[in-house]
């Protein structure tokens, strides 16, 4: 559906071209839901705009359905590519229905009057995006999550074969983000529309994307199934430049801890152990375990099944009923030692 041939993206200016990323060779199949991830400044938006035809490539080709994007007219492009942008639409006195109808723009005559067929497609787009109850409401009255659904419906009403979604979940609360991502994947499956969504939501992308395009600040794009990229260490390679550590077990980013007091953590592998580890990391401790015990004098935290935690420090033992008190005590001890 979408092919990028030796694509070089960036900006043209009088003082010369500034390339953001070059030699990109990728493809995207019909019905596939791909997430574009990468640190800020890597050129995600530039790549999205280039693929949407809003910005010319510096070199190479974007081909959609076998045709060169640069050789298509704006109207031909509109019949193939739909976009959802970050910017909020402020058309106050349009109902959601009228707003979604504008998606039929490339197909209607000079007055923009919709045929029966067009109306059916509009309703279909609205119901696919789960926005049926919103149809009568003015776009200006909608919440962020509702507006994103309507915006998605508008793009779907265009009947695109490629849908480009730029930071669609940016303004949404967590449940809405989860919902929208799952919805996007579902729609890609159902309609056979190829979808490319740029996002900052590492976790959601890992759970929903068929494939991930990982754009690094070095201008390299790594791609593959999200799990393959994790296993191959590509996430780590991309995000470690940012002073972040990618934890392949949890599939999440952490701020890198280079210093900080050490703690020995022991216990059976369990949910309790996992969250104890998180709590200690969050409070700035570097963890060791029984295989890498380290020097004798570091505090030792033991997870006691359901009974709580035991802290052994400098020969004294203390029990704790919750992690808050445990981390407070540990921090207190560590600060005492520093003094």
């Amino acid at each position: 559906m979408l092919e990028l041939d030796a694509l070089d993206i960036g900006y043209r200016s009088r003082s010369g071209n500034k390339s953001v990323a070059g030699q990109i060779n990728l493809e995207l199949d019909a019905g596939e839901f791909v997430c574009l991830l990468g640190p800020n400044g890597a050129g995600k938006s530039t790549l999205m705009r280039t693929i949407a035809g809003m910005q010319p490539p510096l070199d190479g080709r974007v081909r959609v359905g076998g045709r060169n994007l640069q050789e298509m007219s704006a109207r031909e492009r509109a019949e193939i590519i739909g976009v959802v942008l970050t910017e909020k639409v402020t058309a106050g006195l349009l109902t959601s229905y009228a707003f979604v109808s504008l998606g039929r723009y490339p197909y209607t005559k000079w007055s923009g009057k919709l045929s029966e067929h067009d109306h059916r497609i509009v309703w279909n787009a609205i119901s696919m995006a789960g926005a049926v109850e919103l149809a009568d409401r003015f776009v200006g009255e909608l919440s962020d999550g509702e507006r994103q659904r309507v915006t998605l419906a508008r793009a779907l009403a265009q009947q695109p074969r490629l849908l480009i979604l730029d930071e669609m979940t940016a303004f949404l609360d967590l449940p809405r983000r989860v919902e929208i991502m799952a919805l996007l994947r579902q729609i890609a499956r159902d309609t056979g529309c190829a979808m490319l969504a740029s996002t900052h939501e590492l976790d959601l992308a890992l759970r929903n994307a068929d494939r991930v395009w990982l754009l690094g600040t070095d201008g390299n794009v790594r791609h593959g199934a999200p799990e393959d990229l994790v296993l191959a260490g590509d996430f780590a390679a991309t995000f470690n430049h940012e002073g972040m550590d990618f934890d392949p077990l949890r599939g999440a980013l952490y701020v890198r801890q280079r210093s900080g007091p050490e703690v020995l953590l022991c216990g059976e592998r369990s949910v309790r152990l996992e969250w104890t580890q998180r709590a200690l990391e969050r409070c700035g401790f570097r963890l060791r375990n029984e295989e890498t015990p380290g020097p004798e004098e570091i505090p030792r935290v033991e997870v006691l099944g359901d009974d709580g935690w035991q802290l052994n420090d400098s020969g004294t033992a203390q029990s704790f009923g919750n992690l808050y008190e445990l981390t407070r005590a540990l921090t207190y001890h560590a600060e005492g030692k520093l003094r």
Binding site: L85, V89, G92, T108, S111, W123, D136, Q158, I187, G192
Partner: protein, 362 residues
């Protein structure tokens, strides 16, 4: 959610678009209002004419010669001018508000009117300097010169405003437009130094705005200009609707934004400049008419809004003209005095309603 790519096999959930369809009665009121006011203008004035005489005159029957003269020479041209100019200013205002996504845009607020004034002043002054006697004999040419001057002046300002709109915010653009207006005003008074005293006086009365200065001989120039502008406005409803989404979305829908901007601006100039050339600067109409129409129809859809602003604009200008020509005791009011007295508070109300200028109702 199990539809395939061909989505047309499923029946629609409802028949057609809900809520946006305004009551048909509303459009009949919008249509009736200018007709009633048109009739009132013919009837009311310093010399009242009975409605029976007016009707008899309109169908071509015999009326006494004074009545016929008043109707034919004064009131009928004035009423026609107010109707078409009101429609033109309303349409120009709507086009500019949507194009610049700015609820206070209008031919006057963005300086187009000022530019047209400057163009007219320049043509008049040139005439005054370069042996006006020759030019004055060629009335039609002179008139065409004035209209051309107005169009060029307005087009110049429109170009400046359009390029500035790329760099400044909503409010800044308005201040920019106002400054351009003041600049034109300054240039106009400089240019007027080079005219004769009589011409200066004529110019300053023109500057107060009036629909009364237009005579039958002017219509062959005025009406085609405005006709083209109004037809263009109706033809632009689809791109204007797309522009409601912002330029980037409009582009993604297949609109070539650059060309649409150009055509919309040309249309607005063709509507606003001839009105200014013949009636002087008519203030506030272009700003407030689109808001009234939106308020009545409760939609931003230009397919309904564009005809509605034309009718509302006519209504407003006819009403203002009627107000000016009521049989006042002492003297006539100026058209712009009426417009400002109604328009300025209205604009203040719009400002209060859109306090943050972000959730714009356009």
């Amino acid at each position: 959610m199990s539809e395939g790519t061909t989505l047309d096999t499923r029946p629609p959930l409802r028949d057609s678009s809900p809520r946006t369809n305004p009551r048909p009665s509303l459009f009949s009121v919008l249509l009736a209002a200018p007709l009633v006011l048109f009739a009132l203008i013919l009837v009311i004035g310093s010399i009242p004419i009975p409605i029976g005489d007016v009707l008899r005159f309109l169908v071509g029957a015999e009326v006494d010669s004074t009545t016929a003269t008043i109707l034919w020479e004064l009131r009928l041209p004035r009423a026609i001018t107010a109707s078409v100019c009101g429609a033109a200013l309303g349409a120009a205002g709507l086009q500019l508000q949507t194009l610049f996504r700015n609820p206070l845009a209008g031919p006057w607020a963005l300086g187009l009117t000022g530019g047209a004034q400057f163009g007219v002043a320049l043509v008049i002054a040139t005439g005054a300097v370069v042996g006006s006697s020759t030019l004055e004999r060629l009335t039609f040419l002179n008139e065409l010169g004035i209209v051309t001057g107005a169009v060029l002046g307005a087009a110049l300002v429109a170009t400046v405003v359009a390029s500035a709109s790329r760099y400044v915010t909503t409010m800044t653009l308005l201040i920019f437009g106002l400054m351009l207006g003041y600049l034109s005003e300054g240039l106009v008074s400089i240019v007027l130094h080079f005219t004769t005293e009589v011409q200066g006086r004529v110019f300053s009365s023109w500057n107060n705005g009036s629909f009364a200065g237009v005579e039958w001989q002017h219509f062959p120039t005025l009406l085609p200009c405005l006709g083209v502008g109004l037809a263009l406005a109706l033809g632009l409803v689809k791109p204007l609707n797309a522009l409601l989404l912002g330029e980037r979305y409009a582009g993604s829908l297949g609109l070539s934004v650059g060309r649409a901007r150009l055509v919309i601006l040309v249309g607005a100039v063709l509507l606003a400049a001839p009105v200014t050339a013949y009636c002087g600067p008519v203030l506030f109409v272009g700003i407030i008419v689109p808001h009234i129409a939106r308020g009545l129809l409760n939609t931003s859809d230009h397919r309904l809004l564009m005809p509605a602003v034309m009718l509302t604009g006519s209504t407003l200008c006819l009403a203002a003209d009627l107000c000016v020509h009521l049989p006042w005791e002492r003297h006539f009011l100026h058209l712009n005095a009426v417009n400002a007295a109604v328009g300025a508070p209205f604009v203040m109300w719009i400002l209060l309603r859109n306090r943050n200028m972000r959730a714009l109702d356009i």
